[in-house]
């Protein structure tokens, strides 16, 4: 069952690579949020108690409803176009995606073969790594601030997927704290996308490069000396 969910998660991410519309992407993230929640419950079948339920439900709430809603809200309020503007074409993205999946699987299997730790199924771990790389890839290749936020969410999902195996070993408060952090983080990002939109009339982060290091004129030139006089 976990394996099925892992595959679904991986596929959904690959789908993100090929998707050209922001709204569809948000829906994929919603799906991932619910999938992760279910996977969490499944993984902790033997330890189901109030705290596992709370974590699962709040995670689904956060990742499946609150954050996507926030993103949609931002999307509507800002004057951004609804299409994704990638640096890397969708086809190429898909190809790279497959490569990344391969790499993650290699790392995960390589590790699980030699490792004594069996808490996390290799399939899930490879998917988790894949999601992390996917998230980074999305941030790297998509121009808009909002798509970068989506990338961040995917990345977080990947991390969360890794955490599935250890839910009962992690204190409840910490889990909640992690979720709070993610929520506040995305919330802040949302606010900033608003501000960016207002200040720049666009949310393209590739035009977001005023903070640079120019090369100052040479400091100790004799010409410079004379001009200073």
């Amino acid at each position: 069952m976990i394996n099925t969910i892992s595959i679904l998660l991986a596929l959904s991410s690959l789908f993100l690579f090929g998707s050209s519309r922001i709204r569809i992407s948000i829906r994929v993230v919603i799906a991932q949020g619910f999938l992760l929640g279910i996977a969490f419950l499944l993984h902790n079948e033997e330890h189901l108690n109030s705290s596992t339920w709370t974590i699962a439900i709040s995670s689904m709430l956060l990742k499946g409803i609150v954050l996507p809603w926030l993103l949609t809200f931002v999307l509507h309020r800002s004057r951004a176009k609804l299409e994704i503007e990638p640096y890397v074409g969708f086809g190429t993205s898909l190809f790279i995606g497959v490569l990344l999946l391969g790499f993650s699987t290699y790392v995960a299997w390589n590790l699980s073969l030699t490792s004594t730790v069996r808490a996390i199924p290799p399939a899930l771990f490879s998917t988790a790594l894949f999601l992390i790389f996917c998230g980074m890839f999305l941030i790297v290749t998509r121009k808009k601030a909002i798509t970068q936020t989506i990338g961040y969410l995917v990345l977080e999902n990947g991390v969360f997927a890794t955490g599935l195996g250890i839910g009962h070993e992690f204190p409840f408060i910490v889990e909640m704290g992690v979720m709070l952090d993610i929520f506040v983080g995305v919330f802040l990002m949302g606010i900033m996308i608003f501000r960016i939109d207002k200040a720049f009339d666009h949310t393209d982060t590739h035009r977001f490069n005023t903070l640079l290091d120019e090369i100052a004129p040479e400091h100790n030139d004799s010409e410079d000396m004379e001009s200073a006089q």
């Binding site: 390589n110 890839f137 100790n220």
Partner: protein
């Protein structure tokens, strides 16, 4: 030893008082000076005692610094190097009162001046590497602030910058030096380093080179000298005197001290130092000859003198490597004596030149001339200093060079091929340097003090007030006195050099010939003065006769009876033929605007002397490094998504690294 510390404390207190009184210029200067004089007097007591043979004293205080300990000790070598400090510092402080009379910022200036003095004194006594490095840097920083006193001038800022970089390059080498040595000795205590275990031959070479770079950058050993000709002209003259007279000698002290840690000397070290010394001597004096900024010229002359000191050190090391204790003692002794002598005459020269610059408001020789008539006192003392700097008897410069010559000839007496090579190199280079120094100093003396003023000055120059005259006079007397009474100085040197070799045998015990020679030299020097007085008296009688008419007329100009000031030979033309012979060593930039037409209105010819080492080595090197580094500036391009790639790539690379392990 405690007297020593108390004395240092008094000087430091003077500096603090200067800072406290910074609003009252005069009070600040005077309080700092008075306490410097008092403190120096206190410090002088143990120093002279030790220099004359008292036992080394130590002070150890607990100090919670990692690796550090407050450990001071005053041995012969330290005491010897302390002598010029104790002589020059009070004089420079006194001189500064007059020199900076109409300037603001004296409080801060005197604070750094006193800090410099204290740091130098502590440096000499530091017996722990950390303490040594700390006071070393305090010395560097305080002298930096002294250099940039006139920071509104771009050239001064440039000089300060150059000085700072040069110093820091040296500090880096010293850090490496001491950390390696400390690692080998297992402690940062100098005594542990002295006793430290056997070093491998290659490690010794590395350490030696590090010491040469580290201390050489302070001492101005070729080719690390480039800050000297920048910083000395930039600094106020008494600071130049103090820096050139004693501070750069701290580099020599450091080099000597570190040599003592290296165990047995190898001939390679000696050849390296000798080669550097010869190069510094020749390049230094040729550059001095070509410079027409009067203080820059003196700075280059310091480079030359450091070169001579290095020649002495190199000879000493070679002597030791060849198990020829006489040559060792003579070489080291000559180098040490030259340290002392150079501090006197270079201090004197900088202070006299300071008076000239103070009166004429320019450092350009082309604008000076005829100052002997306006400033006779300064002029006479300048000529005294110039003679000493050209190593002419009866002044002290000759005596120390004599010792170095002597060491070379002594080594040749073994008739060993390499010893003869050493002697030949030493004699040739010293003779050449001597000849060139004479050319350089007659040029300065002639162009600045003799003839007629080349440009109109804003005000009529005159001899300075007593605060500036007194130090000049005293230094002049010392330069002459130590020249004539050199046999009396020999015991000081004779013992101080034993610290380097670790042998107990003093120079005088090893070499019975040197003392009689020095005594003869002092007879001749004395006779020189006496004979001069007698002959001058006769001359006076001869020209004072009634029959002897004394008249004045224009000088001969091929029958042209209206000679003009501008027809005088210029400093550049004086030195040009000689400098052109050594063309590869200095870079002269020409700017010529030819007079045109039958009745030309204007014409202009300008030369600018650039340091060849700086131009051909440092500038391209620094440019290359900067260029290479700046190539990587693109990394910070502002695109945040690419930044994320950095994170991803780092992560992947590390994962692969782990997988590989």
């Amino acid at each position: 030893m405690w007297t020593f510390l108390v004395g240092c404390g008094v000087i430091a207190l003077g500096g603090l008082l200067a800072l406290v009184f910074f609003k009252h210029e005069k009070a600040a200067k005077i309080s700092a000076t008075v306490l410097t004089v008092a403190g120096s007097a206190l410090v002088a007591m143990p120093v002279i005692e030790t220099a004359l043979g008292a036992d080394t004293e130590f002070i150890r205080l607990a100090w919670t610094l990692p690796l550090g300990e407050f450990h001071l000790g005053l041995d012969r070598l330290s005491a010897f190097f302390a002598l010029p400090i104790l002589l020059l510092s009070p004089l420079c402080a006194i001189y500064g009162i007059g020199y900076l009379a109409h300037r603001k910022g004296g409080g801060g200036h005197y604070f750094f001046l006193n800090t410099l003095v204290v740091s130098m004194l502590l440096l000499l006594c530091a017996k722990n590497a950390i303490l040594f490095l700390i006071v070393w840097e305090v010395m560097a920083i305080s002298s930096f602030f002294l250099v940039v006193f006139d920071d509104h001038l771009p050239s001064v800022r440039q000089a300060g910058w150059t000085y700072m970089i040069a110093t820091h390059i040296g500090v880096m080498a010293l850090l490496a030096f001491f950390s390696i040595l400390g690692h080998h000795a297992g402690s940062f205590d100098f005594q542990a380093m002295l006793a430290g275990g056997e070093l491998s031959s290659s490690m010794r070479l590395v350490l030696f080179l590090l010491a040469v770079v580290g201390f050489g950058s302070k001492a101005g050993i070729f080719p690390l000298h480039i800050w000297l000709p920048e910083a000395h002209p930039a600094a106020p003259s008494h600071v130049s005197a103090l820096m050139s007279g004693v501070m750069i000698k701290m580099g020599i002290y450091g080099l000597m001290r570190s040599l003592s840690f290296l165990g047995e000397f190898e001939a390679t070290f000696g050849w390296i130092l000798l080669a550097l010394g010869v190069a510094a001597g020749v390049v230094g004096i040729v550059s001095a000859l070509s410079s027409h900024d009067i203080k820059r010229m003196l700075a280059y002359s310091s480079v030359e003198n450091i070169g001579i000191i290095c020649i002495g050190l190199g000879t000493g090391i070679l002597g030791s490597a060849w198990h020829n204790p006489q040559v060792t003692a003579l070489g080291f002794g000559g180098a040490l004596l030259h340290v002392l002598n150079h501090s006197m005459f270079k201090g004197l020269l900088f202070l006299t030149v300071g008076a000239v610059v103070h009166e004429t408001d320019t450092k350009e020789m082309h604008h000076m001339g005829g100052l002997l008539k306006k400033m006779p006192f300064t002029a006479v003392l300048f000529f005294a200093g110039a003679m000493a700097a050209s190593a002419l008897p009866p002044f002290n410069g000759f005596v120390s060079e004599f010792l170095i010559y002597f060491s070379g000839i002594k080594s040749a007496m073994t008739k060993d091929v390499s010893s003869i090579l050493l002697a030949a190199v030493l004699l040739t280079s010293l003779a050449l340097i001597g000849g060139l120094a004479l050319a350089a100093f007659t040029k300065v003396g002639g162009m600045v003090f003799l003839g007629e003023p080349r440009t109109a000055l804003k005000k009529t120059p005159h001899d300075p007030g007593w605060t500036m005259k007194f130090p000049l006079l005293l230094l002049g007397i010392f330069a002459l006195g130590t020249g004539i009474a050199s046999p009396l100085l020999l015991p000081l040197v004779s013992d101080a050099q034993t610290v380097l070799t670790g042998d107990a045998a003093s120079l005088m015990a090893l070499d019975s010939d040197i003392l009689p020679s020095l005594i003869n030299i002092s007879y001749v020097s004395g006779a020189f003065l006496v004979a001069f007085v007698i002959l001058a008296f006769f001359y006076r009688i001869l020209t004072g006769r009634k029959k002897c008419e004394v008249a004045r007329s224009p000088v001969w100009d091929c029958g042209y009876a209206k000679p003009a000031v501008s027809m005088q030979y210029t400093p550049s033309s004086f030195s040009a033929p000689l400098v052109l012979l050594f063309k590869p060593l200095v870079h002269i930039r020409w700017a010529l605007q030819k007079p045109e037409g039958y009745f030309p209105k204007s014409g202009r010819f300008e030369t600018k002397i650039e340091d060849r080492v700086k131009e051909a080595f440092y500038a391209p090197l620094f440019r290359l490094i900067a260029k290479t580094l700046l190539l990587f500036r693109f990394l910070q391009h502002g695109h945040v998504h690419i930044y994320v790639i950095y994170v991803a790539v780092t992560l992947i690379a590390l994962l692969l690294f782990t997988a590989g392990n």
